[in-house]
């Protein structure tokens, strides 16, 4: 099977767009949040906004694991990378997505350049394998991700324990999506009419965890696939619910998402993880019961217990408005640093690093096109605006 590059079913796309135009009440506005960063990427890539009436706004949600991790956790992880265990340098492993995310003193990649043993892995199992191959050194895996990724970390830890691999530990930063949605709904500056629910997270957790959004918060949610047609159909389903005054959880992505989720994955997570009382999210602040830590039975494999992790709190560069963008209060281009100091090549905020980050997607698919159309008078600045901004605020 080859990767092929073509749109599918343009006629169905047109039909869905027509249906959206028919269902949308011109007398009101709609704000729909797509929770998942994969959806954000697809929405920009396909220019789906252009297919929607102007009174439907798509608001980007917090579903990009790299983006929501606060800088303090990156600093904590990199502090572990600088540690020695049993007289040897720690081997610090992380997914490629994490490598360019800035900490206070540089990204993991920059730490590697300074001589730390930082390695990219594509699977937590590979980190475990590196530990097995290097019995005299300690290997730390920097675990990030929502419920899509957490079961893989859980199974890797179960395997490490079963095999008795003692020179391996996990710095756990797994987060859970539902408390983040709740925090957004509780936020006073937020007005969301309905949600496009995440696809692959839901393949693990199923649709039941969203029922409170419909029942208690009174907001419709449709779990959606990633194709343009999936996203448009999900918007049709949301508009139908609103029009018929129904408030339900619906599953547009049933071909991949079972209503009850992936039972072995949920069991593995329950065996290995427990909920943290609270966890800091970039832009959203501390959210209770929103992240996972290792259970006591896995204390020996918990990097936070094996190493003295300080739990640093770092404020983002003042002018960077990652938080507002993450909450959907600002569009990426409304941030003062967007495409000036903060670019995909030199990211200041994490939303500019990952392809699923709203800023990177916007920059790649909207900003560059706009730029090509309009000749930009880019006067060179002596100081980046966020530094002058900080100075004027001081």
């Amino acid at each position: 099977m080859k990767f092929v590059d073509e749109f599918r079913d343009p006629a169905l796309i047109t039909k869905a767009a027509d249906e959206i135009a028919r269902l949308a009440d011109p007398g009101r506005t709609y704000r729909f949040m797509e929770v998942c960063g994969g959806h954000t990427h697809a929405i920009y890539r396909f220019g789906l906004k252009d297919l929607l009436p102007p009174n439907i706004e798509l608001v980007h949600g917090p579903g990009c694991p790299v983006c929501v991790l606060p800088m303090g956790r990156i600093d904590d992880g990199l502090a572990i990378a600088e540690t020695e265990a049993e007289g040897q340098r720690v081997i610090f492993t992380a997914f490629g997505d994490m490598m360019r995310v800035p900490g206070t003193r540089g990204s993991p990649l920059e730490h590697k350049a300074r001589g730390r043993d930082v390695r990219i892995v594509y699977s937590p199992l590979d980190a475990l394998k590196i530990a097995q191959a290097n019995p005299d050194r300690h290997v730390v895996f920097f675990a990030i991700g929502f419920e899509t990724t957490a079961p893989s970390t859980a199974l890797t830890l179960k395997r490490a324990k079963a095999l008795g691999v003692r020179n391996f530990s996990v710095f756990c930063n797994h987060v859970t999506i539902v408390p983040a949605i709740r925090a957004i709904l509780d936020s006073p500056d937020m007005r969301i009419d309905a949600f496009v629910g995440p696809g692959h997270v839901s393949a693990v957790i199923g649709c039941r965890p969203y029922e409170w959004i419909a029942k208690r918060a009174g907001k419709p949610i449709v779990v959606s696939g990633f194709e343009p047609l999936d996203i448009l159909q999900s918007i049709v389903m949301l508009l139908r619910q609103l029009r018929e005054r129904r408030v339900e959880v619906e599953n547009q992505y049933a071909r991949v998402v079972p209503w009850d989720g992936n039972v072995p994955a949920l069991k593995a997570m329950a065996d290995v993880f427990k909920l943290r009382p609270f966890f800091e999210w970039r832009g959203l602040g501390f959210i209770s019961q929103s992240a996972l830590a290792l259970q006591d039975a896995y204390a020996d494999w918990d990097a936070e217990r094996r190493f003295a992790v300080r739990g640093v709190q770092v404020t983002d560069p003042k002018a960077a408005q990652c938080g507002e963008v993450l909450k959907g209060v600002l569009r990426p281009s409304q941030c003062k640093l967007f495409a000036r100091e903060c670019t995909p090549e030199h990211p200041i905020g994490a939303l500019m690093v990952s392809a699923e980050g709203a800023c990177a997607a916007y920059h790649t698919y909207v900003h560059r096109r706009t730029l090509a159309a309009a000749a930009s008078a880019s006067a060179s600045r002596e100081n980046p605006s966020w530094i002058t901004q900080q100075a004027s605020n001081a």
Binding site: M1, F3, G37, T148, S152, H200, V256
Partner: protein
């Protein structure tokens, strides 16, 4: 990283490792199938893969659809790089990954 990669099971290894060899656009690697516990997994099945683990079984048409989607999003090279990077059975004594596919 939340876009899962479709692959086809080539061989299930009955050696207690929970590993199966998958084929993704001609690249063959071992992935863990522990999350498919309770389902039959045999050569020829299609699965969605995420960070070295098969997440769920899907139909062939869905697999093609997902592959097309990844390509349109410009993530096909990164996806293949990820699959090539699964080195659970290919890391040597020094812990370095071997080159090549």
């Amino acid at each position: 990283m939340c876009l899962a990669i479709p692959g086809q099971i080539v061989e299930v290894h009955e050696d207690g490792t929970d590993l199966a060899t998958v084929d993704v656009s001609g690249v063959r690697r071992r992935v863990n199938i522990g999350l498919l516990e309770g389902q039959s997994v045999t050569a020829g099945d299609w699965v969605l893969i995420h960070v070295g683990f098969a997440m769920n079984k899907i139909g062939e048409e869905q697999a093609r659809e997902q592959m097309r989607m990844i390509a349109i999003l410009g993530e096909d090279e990164a996806a293949l790089e990820e699959v090539k990077g699964y080195n659970v059975d290919r890391i040597d004594e020094r812990g370095d990954t071997r080159g090549g596919s």
